[in-house]
């Protein structure tokens, strides 16, 4: 099978009904807005285009490149879709992709599809496009760098939200899942960022008219900048907090009544067996996060400079 699944697709059964429905609600609202926006502003020509772009995302996920030690860089595509097509169209395209992955390949469940669409389609569009929108009028190098950072952050935020959803369903322990998911996706995100930057620069070089067209296209207002920054900030702040202080988050979830919904047997509130799995997870995650950000920044600067150099030569 050429199609290889990515870890972010949650199967049915892993999320409780409350969490599933909550994210279905959020997804339906966002997709509904996206539909009414695209219906109002785009011609019927855009619909075949979006369908084919969705097929493109699917096919592009087949293209991988060897990184190191047998792992290979993969492509999720949410950030690239929203940057090239505009955020609302990007959301619709990713919704179709996630839906077909679940229906055709059983990659991701049906009841939890709302959460999957939110993580991989909406969150990536908000962060990927929101950050890109901030620098849309800047120089090429800056734009590409920010697009790379945006797609890395979008991958990380998707991994973080997936972990939080699993934890809210008491499917997994917070202090284990957050460092594990973020650690893996810090690497996957670098691959994503590099491919996104290179693909964007390729499109800019060969068909700059496509991106200009999109920049004047509607639906990509300033609100996306705030949303993108807010979500990025949220992801950056909560991931060290989630690892450093799982009890704090647990309290919040208990106050909101989430953890009770995930279980049916009575339990004692004060029981707390901690597993020192990764040493002092808090500090190590924060350090890993900082190192990751520095590494990504450095890589992107290098890639950006190389691309510019090769263009000039």
């Amino acid at each position: 099978m050429l199609y290889s699944p990515v870890q972010l697709h949650i199967p049915d059964g892993f999320l409780t009904i409350v969490v599933s429905l909550l994210f279905w609600l959020a997804t339906v609202i966002m997709v509904g807005i996206a539909i009414s926006r695209t219906n109002r502003t785009l011609g019927e020509k855009q619909i075949p285009l979006m369908g084919i772009m969705a097929a493109f995302i699917f096919a592009a996920q087949m293209i991988n490149f060897p990184v190191a030690g047998g792992t290979s860089g993969h492509f999720l595509g949410g950030a690239l879709a929203s940057i090239v097509l505009g955020p609302w169209a990007g959301i619709l395209v990713m919704t179709a992709v996630v839906g077909v992955q679940a229906l055709l390949f059983q990659d991701g469940g049906l009841l939890v599809m709302g959460a999957n669409i939110f993580n991989m389609g909406i969150l990536t569009a908000v962060i990927g496009f929101g950050l890109y929108r901030l620098v849309i009028n800047q120089k090429r190098g800056v734009r590409l760098t920010v697009a790379g950072i945006g797609s890395w952050l979008a991958t990380m935020a998707a991994a973080l939200l997936t972990s939080l959803q699993l934890w809210l369903s008491s499917t997994t322990r917070l202090e284990i899942v957050v460092p594990a998911m973020l650690g893996v996706h810090a690497l996957i995100g670098i691959g994503e960022a590099m491919i996104t930057v290179a693909a964007l620069s390729f499109i800019e070089r060969t068909r700059p008219d496509l991106l200009d067209e999109r920049q004047s296209s509607p639906g990509g207002g300033k609100g996306w900048i705030f949303a993108g920054l807010a979500f990025s900030l949220f992801a950056l702040l909560i991931s060290p907090y989630a690892s450093a202080n799982p009890d704090g988050l647990e309290r919040v979830a208990q106050d909101l009544g989430f953890l009770e919904s995930g279980q049916n047997s009575p339990y004692n509130l004060l029981q707390d067996y901690s597993i020192p799995f990764f040493g002092d997870t808090g500090a190590s995650t924060i350090i890993a996060g900082i190192v990751g950000v520095v590494v990504v920044f450095g890589l992107l600067m290098l890639v950006g400079r190389n691309l510019r150099a090769s263009k000039e030569s």
Partner: protein, 264 residues
């Protein structure tokens, strides 16, 4: 690449295949919902749900083990749930001190873990049964009947139609890269990581442009053939007596399963 590499539909004539696709979608979703609502540890109810699934397999004439064989796709994800075994919300059964870590499986944790496994295992099998007995265009039509917005169903229809075309395009691009980066065994081939990523990015960009330009041509071709923004099918999909009967029996069985699950 052959069409069937992706398509799991099995050409058979059976009661399940002949059902209205709407009914199959509703029953599948209801089944998965029912699994999600069942409390942890209600093993008899889960067993009944499995029985229902086996009856579905049998009626569909695809072999009792068909969905089981394909249900292993969820296995990689179960790794995530392993830490649920050590949930602090229950009484620890044993405490293993491994030196660097202390593991304490709890009763609540174990029940939760197996509950998750069974739920996802049953749910994914039902989804497999749905796809194995319903052609994808029919499925899309069913979603249209179920009031999914037209724009989404049309995007999905196009996605399905061009998935194979563009996958072939991607395969050609990958083959071209492989043909141009031949290497001797034992000799490191290809450039730096940066170079490889750039090449891959160019491939993705190339694929994007080919897709984009193809969509232009497709649109023009469709307009010239009278496309009005809606994909038509020959199959009218009308609900018959059999459809209502199967729907009624299935919903009744699911309610029964809920009853078994909640009454101790």
């Amino acid at each position: 690449m052959h069409f069937h590499a992706f398509d799991q539909f099995h050409f058979r004539e059976s009661r399940i295949h002949n059902l209205d696709p709407r009914i199959k979608v509703i029953i599948t979703v209801a089944f998965i919902l029912s699994n999600a609502i069942l409390p942890d540890g209600s093993w008899p109810a889960f067993a009944l749900a499995w029985l229902l699934l086996l009856i579905g397999n049998d009626l569909a004439d695809i072999g009792l083990g068909f969905t089981f064989k394909r249900s292993f796709v969820v296995i990689p994800f179960t790794l995530v749930a392993v830490s649920a075994i050590f949930s602090p919300l229950g009484e620890p059964l044993v405490i293993w001190d491994l030196g660097f870590i202390t593991l304490a499986p709890t009763d609540f944790g174990l029940i939760r873990f197996f509950g998750i496994l069974i739920r996802s295992w049953l749910s994914v099998q039902m989804a497999i049964l749905l796809v194995a007995t319903t052609q994808f265009p029919d499925l899309i039509h069913a979603f249209e009947h179920l009031r999914l917005p037209r724009i989404l169903t049309t995007i999905i229809a196009f996605l399905y139609r061009y998935l194979f075309v563009l996958s072939n395009e991607a395969l050609r691009i990958i083959r071209a890269r492989d043909a141009r980066s031949a290497g001797l065994p034992g000799v490191k081939r290809g450039g730096s990581l940066n170079w490889r990523a750039k090449t891959t990015g160019n491939m993705v960009g190339q694929l994007f442009l080919r897709s984009y330009e193809r969509s232009d041509r497709i649109y023009n071709a469709m307009i010239s053939r009278g496309y009005t923004g809606h994909i038509r099918t020959f199959n009218p999909h009308e609900m018959g007596r059999e459809d209502w009967f199967v729907l009624g029996v299935s919903i009744f069985s699911l309610l029964l399963i809920q009853l078994v699950g909640w009454i101790r």
